[in-house]
């Protein structure tokens, strides 16, 4: 076989995601094709090479002493997507199981049960059209696409700025899976289930410039209202795999969430007289919130986070002085009270 002249264009990449009906299975209820803003992570099957201790008296490494360990591999897939109400409902649903209305992360959050083969709706399958290694002829089974089964969301970051992405919010998502990446061509071929996939275009995505005076820090009083330029809300967690089902494909027995959600929110806003009410919040352990409100085309949007300030700074890189405040999200671990969330 001569050198193949075909190329795989990064601009041709498409990503669709759907909730699997069983953990680690290939069947999904509905696939959604997302408006991704940059190429997603593409990972082939790999395994870390582990080495045995060197044998005394030898001065070269023994080929018998190295081994691919497939028992603990976790693949991480990241992508950026234009944030719209529908898309953020999905992303929040994937991240912390709240996908309608205001998507709240609650104080007494418990992760779902991730058990290999279990009938459950807590993992996603991610297809990347064009991520494979062969051209698609639409006539035979090819390896033009890749897909990742049993994915669990480990981080969701929503960024929104007046001077970035034309004022539209962007969600940076990270998923992990312990299942091997696989190849196929169903998405390229438009075959089931991708022939019924819902194309999401980012319709209804809010404009930053539509923020309203309900945007404030710590209090709805007028003295706490801010003029914002940007904000971001980040939620991240560690999800680890448990063991392996067999020594054939080394699928995980399940996953477990280790530790707590690491939540933070920051906001850059105009430095003005209202800072007199805000400056003590930078150091006095007060439990506060940042609340972003807007109304685009008659639709309210809201992003918020409760917590305590970790950082406060003054930005001199613009014509006017700007303040940046960062808080670490935290809630009441005994109650179902929301401590961060969004409604696009």
């Amino acid at each position: 076989m001569a050198v193949d002249t075909a190329v795989r264009s990064t601009q041709d990449l498409k990503l669709s995601i759907g909730t699997a009906t069983t953990t680690g299975g290939t069947t999904c209820s509905t696939f959604y094709v997302l408006p991704i803003l940059s190429p997603p992570t593409i990972l082939d099957i790999t395994a870390p090479l582990e080495e045995a201790s060197p044998i005394l008296g030898t001065h070269t490494m023994s080929k018998s002493g190295a081994f691919h360990n497939r028992t603990n591999k976790m693949y991480e897939i990241s992508f950026s997507v234009l944030a719209s109400p529908t898309i953020m409902d999905l992303m929040c649903l994937y991240a912390y199981e709240d996908g309608d209305g205001v998507n709240n992360l609650i104080g007494n959050y418990r992760p779902p049960n991730w058990i290999n083969g279990a009938t459950a709706t807590d993992t996603q399958n991610i297809y990347i059209q064009g991520a494979g290694f062969s051209e698609n002829t639409a006539s035979t089974d090819e390896n033009s696409d890749m897909y990742f089964k049993g994915c669990v969301c480990t981080s969701l970051e929503l960024t929104h700025a007046i001077d970035s992405e034309s004022g539209k919010p962007v969600a940076n998502m990270t998923f992990v899976t312990g299942y091997n990446p696989e190849y196929g061509d169903n998405m390229s071929d438009g075959e089931a289930p991708h022939n019924t996939a819902v194309n999401l275009t980012g319709e209804g995505s809010p404009n930053f410039s539509d923020w309203t005076t309900a945007t404030d820090i710590h209090s709805s009083d007028a003295g706490y209202q801010i003029h914002p330029y940007s904000y971001s809300l980040s939620m991240a967690r560690d999800v680890q795999r448990i063991g392996y089902v067999n020594a054939t494909d080394f699928s995980p027995i399940g996953y477990t969430m280790v530790g707590q959600w690491d939540v933070s929110m920051n906001c850059t806003y105009k430095r003005d007289a209202n800072f007199t009410n805000l400056k003590s919040l930078l150091y006095d352990s007060t439990y506060i919130y940042i609340d972003m409100y807007g109304n685009t085309g008659g639709n309210d949007w809201n992003v918020f986070c409760y917590g305590k300030v970790t950082e406060g700074g003054v930005d001199t890189g613009n014509p006017e002085l700007r303040n940046t405040i960062t808080l670490k999200g935290m809630g009441d671990v005994e109650s179902a009270t929301a401590y961060c969330g969004m409604s696009m």
Binding site: R110, N113, I115, N116, I253, T256
Partner: protein, 426 residues
């Protein structure tokens, strides 16, 4: 049987504790509640493991003989270590009350304390918290990594007849400025199974995991003769960076029941060992603290907030070290916790102590400088005093002598009877 596909996630473990109705019963006392603890590390999980005894080698044999080995089911004592946040819940008497035999907050180890008697099956007096039941949610091997109710699946482990063996308390700028406690329970009773924690069937459960705590920076400290100085002197004020207190005792099982369970017949106890240390910035007040490094007098340290938080240790200085690992010099002052043998006694005469003091003669009183006593049954000396100028058979109180000798009784006040007192409430 194929390989089991279930697993138990470490991060899902939870620990609940309650006072036991009767020793070894594993049931909650009617007056008690369950407390869901804010554990900061996985608890110890025991599975009825016991020691294997091995006999002496037989002469002429070169391989081990299994007939000379025996699992000792008659004497195990299983330890359960709990690392918990030192927030206000920690004073729940069901957690530390058993160690100090008290139902009163703040929990305190009082001079002269005699441990409670604990016998298999005996009905517990709630106020003494003799034994506890500990349930670890999601620790049993039958768990399926779900928080959901699953009737007939016992996901939780139950430890009955648990007795508090030791507690250590540390508080510094570490750990987010919150206090931490490590509490060790022991039991001679085999573990059991339940699904009650997972299925939310532990009645009167109090969830303490979200309780607030006092930040270390909210505390002020006194070191040395702090008791007398509560009158207003600041000579013993110190800038503390952290402290540790350790209280421990041995808990031994006695015998076993003649059945398959081989339950302990009783527990008995060794004396308490109490120690602690405080780290302070080396400053001019050291001049007032230094005498206690050598003078055989009771001293200690005391940290308190402007609110309810108050922790102190009474004892004698056992070691002092200088820490040069920080920008400024710091002293670590270690104490051996100590109390008094006599909590009350009579005095036989009084005399002029000079300078407005009365010298009280009470042979072998055992009191120490700065301790707080109340005098009763005297002619003119009745009242409460921080004693000074202490000798073997005499001490002085700040009250002018009445010019005639008197007799009466002194009682050591609560503050001075307590070797350790802990109140972490905000």
């Amino acid at each position: 049987m194929a390989i089991g596909q279930n697993f138990q996630a470490i991060d899902r473990l939870q620990v609940a504790i309650t006072t036991e109705a009767s020793v070894g019963s594993g049931t909650k006392h009617a007056s008690a509640s369950w407390y869901n603890l804010p554990i900061t590390a996985p608890p110890t999980i025991n599975v009825n493991q016991v020691a294997l005894d091995t006999g002496a080698n037989q002469v002429g044999l070169y391989t081990p003989n299994h007939n000379q080995m025996k699992h000792r089911t008659d004497n195990p004592m299983w330890e359960i270590t709990l690392e918990v946040l030192g927030t206000e819940y920690s004073l729940q008497t069901s957690l530390l009350g058993g160690l100090f035999k008290t139902n009163t907050e703040p929990v305190s180890l009082v001079s002269g304390l005699h441990p409670v008697e604990i016998r298999d099956g005996a009905v517990n007096t709630y106020a003494e918290h003799p034994t506890s039941v500990i349930v670890i949610r999601g620790a049993n091997f039958e768990g399926t990594n779900t928080f959901d109710e699953e009737t007939s699946v016992s996901k939780d482990l139950v430890y009955s007849g648990c007795v508090c063996k030791s507690a250590s308390l540390s508080h510094s700028m570490d750990n987010g400025g919150l206090a931490k406690m490590t509490i060790v329970f022991v039991t001679g009773y085999k573990k059991g199974y339940t699904n009650n924690f997972t299925d939310d069937l532990l009645t009167t459960m109090v969830d303490n995991r979200g309780n607030s705590g006092v930040h270390f920076t909210d505390l002020s400290a006194m070191v040395g003769k702090f008791q007398g100085e509560t009158h207003g002197s600041s000579n013993y004020d110190a800038r503390a960076y952290g402290y540790n207190i350790e209280i421990s005792r041995d808990v031994n099982r006695v015998g076993y029941t003649q059945d398959a369970d081989k339950k302990p017949l009783a527990y008995n106890f060794s004396p308490y060992s109490v120690s602690g240390d405080v780290i302070v910035r080396s400053s001019s007040n050291q001049a007032n603290i230094e005498p206690y490094y050598t003078n055989n007098q009771m001293s200690g340290f005391y940290l308190k907030s402007s609110g309810n938080y108050a922790v102190w240790l009474n004892g004698l200085v056992s070691a002092v070290s200088n820490d040069t690992g920080s920008p400024e010099l710091r002293n670590t002052i270690s104490f051996q916790g100590a109390g008094n043998l006599l909590l009350t006694d009579s005095f036989t005469s009084t005399a002029d102590g000079g300078g407005g003091y009365t010298k009280v003669t009470s042979v072998g009183h055992g009191l120490s400088e700065g301790q707080y006593v109340t005098i009763n049954s005297s002619t003119s000396l009745d009242g409460s005093y921080y004693i000074q100028s202490v000798n073997q058979d005499t001490f002085e109180v700040l009250n002018s002598w009445s010019t005639s000798t008197e007799t009466g009784v002194w009682l050591l006040e609560t503050f001075s009877k307590q070797i350790v007192s802990i109140n972490l409430n905000a």
